[in-house]
Amino acid sequence: MTDFWFQFLLALDSTLRVATPLIFCAMAGIFSERSGIIDISLEGKMLMAAFVAAATAYATGSPWIGAIAAIIVSILASLIHGFACIIHRGNQVISGLAINILASGLTVIIGIALFRQGGQTPTLPRTSRFNSLELPFVDFMEQNVPIFGIIYKELLSDHNILVWAALASVGVTFYILFKTTFGLRLRAVGEKPEAIDSAGISVTRMRFQAIIIAGILCGLAGVYLSTATGAGFVKEMTAGKGYIALAAMIFGKWKPVPALFACLLFGFLEAVAARVQGVEIMLIGEISSDLLIALPYLLTVILLAGFIGGVTPPRAIGQPYIKER
């Protein structure tokens, strides 16, 4: 039993690690889509940011400078998206897709031009990465506090600062969206842009602000992948995480806290999938980790189809706003 408990804690611990980029991206998606802009370019922005973070951290030796550069590039990608679908009223899905495809080509080409390693960046030394922080009194807690002591050591300690930042971003997102005037306007712009316009507030400006925030958050997700959990950039390292985050955001019905739980659920499924290959379970038989990986997508489809409660996306989502004259 203690062994099972311990294994469970380890699974939760890796859940948190796997879920971190998902949480950043899901929050990014919430900001963008709540303002009425569909954002399937989470994946591409995260990939570009991951590359820039690793390349800059390698060149300067500082993960912080890498993070800033990554966030700037991710914001630039957001601005391209905004230029296409806010200013030129282009199709938001097409624009997002273009950014994703552009990112997967561009990162490798520039990577080869700079480092000649087949699209990878050189491995980053410990000093140019975000390392895990051991919380204080770990051993003391483990020896003297029952149950919580081991949770403290195995689950809470030894995470890098970005894991905590991701969790904090959920609170911040919630606060901004639901407790500030800015958030109220942002949500209104995604539901009824005419109303915001007639109140004398620029729809274009609100939407640009929303996607810039989304850019910052996707940037952090990329930074986490290449300079915190990973030690450098690898070709296509986001591997569909942006799309899982999109699914988690929908699964969380475009709300920060439910989206957090969706990210944790999807992260948990991935963490479990890595452990159960070949394990037999009563009545079900052998679990296939290949199929388990598809479960988040399947759950999202089922949810969207309204088989588990209803989902209502922001009403004005996907429609460019045309100001009446």
């Binding site: 296409a84 950014i99 080509g105």
Partner: protein
């Protein structure tokens, strides 16, 4: 789509070419930034795609893939549906071919097996388009999200089957055993060699003809049948089609099934034409390229043929870049593809205001009385 006041030829020819040139211009700048000569790169690509022996065959081989996936996206576009699921539908099409060929090969005559396998690819692709179509029409889920999810689900199913119950014994890689001898589509270089012409080896096969037939059939469907009329009407305004007395829901479902079937048939080219067994990831992003193709080809079969040829040349020429340059690889093609989707898709109307000024002024000069 936005109503345009421009002359028709500007809308159909000038704008797509302008968008394409913008994309290529940006690509050229990027090539120059990483320290290579964009014109040398272009000439290497053109030679690789058309001049070298077998190059043209490879170009047309890729073209075949893009015709199928481009048509799939275009048919859905006519009903204002955005099918991003070509990748998954093509993968399932491959599964359809595999199941038919592996279960019936050796039992039925070869030609029958081939015909059934082609139908199998269309059927499996259609199912993978039908479900998102049904969910959109009857349950209100967004087709874009559902088809994205279905790509991932299809890929998981393929991994599960090809590394599991369909995996060839004594094999390390996830793939099925080879089909029975003769269950394949003939390749052009074989046919022409037998007729006495000597052309370079390439994987170009009879699927190319099938793709052209599909182009004609799609044209017939969209512009010459009642169903096609209804598909376009549904795209134009679902309400109008309700007033006209038929259900947009049914049209959405049928359109998505047709779209899925076309994407599924891409597998005919790769699996029946070349591999003769089902392998993993044979779709290699061609489903997404279909989106670029449909956008460039303005959703018209003729435009799609030209756009597919362009992308076929890009893919084949891009392979040549790998040999000639140290710093430019096939990924350059992925990047160009992204730029083309950006400029001829998302920013398709960027030049409209400018062109309108240009052309409408000209017309005003011709007819001074109108002012």
């Amino acid at each position: 789509m936005q109503a345009s006041r421009l002359p028709r030829y500007v809308d159909i020819c000038v704008i797509p070419i302008l968008n394409l040139l913008t994309a290529l211009f940006v690509a050229g700048i990027i090539i120059a930034i990483i320290g290579e000569n964009p014109f040398t790169a272009l000439s290497v690509m053109l030679k690789g795609a058309f001049v070298y022996k077998g190059g043209l065959g490879y170009t047309l081989f890729y073209t075949t893939n893009f015709i199928f996936t481009g048509l799939a996206v275009a048919v859905a576009f006519h009903a204002m549906l955005f099918n991003i699921g070509g990748e998954g539908q093509a993968a399932m099409g491959g599964l359809g071919i595999g199941l038919v060929a592996l279960s019936l090969g050796g039992i039925l005559p070869v030609l029958v097996v081939i015909a059934l396998a082609i139908l199998g690819s269309a059927l499996f692709g259609a199912i993978w388009g039908f479900i998102p179509g049904y969910l959109q029409a009857k349950r209100g889920s967004h087709i874009v999200i559902t088809t994205i999810m279905f790509n991932f689900i299809a890929s998981a199913i393929m991994v599960w089957l090809l590394a599991g119950m369909l995996m060839a014994p004594n094999q390390m890689s996830p793939e099925t055993i080879s089909f029975q001898n003769g269950v394949m589509l003939w390749q052009f270089h074989d046919i022409l060699n037998r007729l006495g012409f000597d052309i370079g080896r390439s994987p170009l096969n009879l699927s190319f003809v099938l793709a052209l037939i599909c182009c004609f059939l799609v044209w017939l469907l969209i512009w010459r049948t009642h169903l096609g009329y209804r598909i376009r009407a549904t795209g134009f305004s679902p309400k109008a089609s309700t007033y006209a007395g038929y259900k947009p829901e049914t049209i959405i479902i049928i359109t998505m099934a047709i779209s899925g079937a076309l994407a599924g048939m891409m597998a005919v080219n790769e699996i029946l034409g070349v591999q003769h067994r089902v392998i993993l990831n044979f779709t290699s992003g061609y489903g997404f390229t279909g989106i670029a193709v449909a956008l460039m080809g303005r959703n018209h079969p003729l435009g799609i043929i030209f756009a597919s040829l362009l992308f076929g040349a890009l893919f084949q020429g891009g392979a040549e870049l790998d040999f000639e340059f140290q710093t430019i690889t096939r990924d350059m093609v992925v990047m160009i593809q992204g730029l083309i989707i950006l400029f001829s898709g998302a920013l398709a109307y960027m030049f409209n205001p400018m062109l309108e000024k240009l052309f409408l002024n000209e017309e005003r000069l011709k007819e001074p009385n109108n002012d």
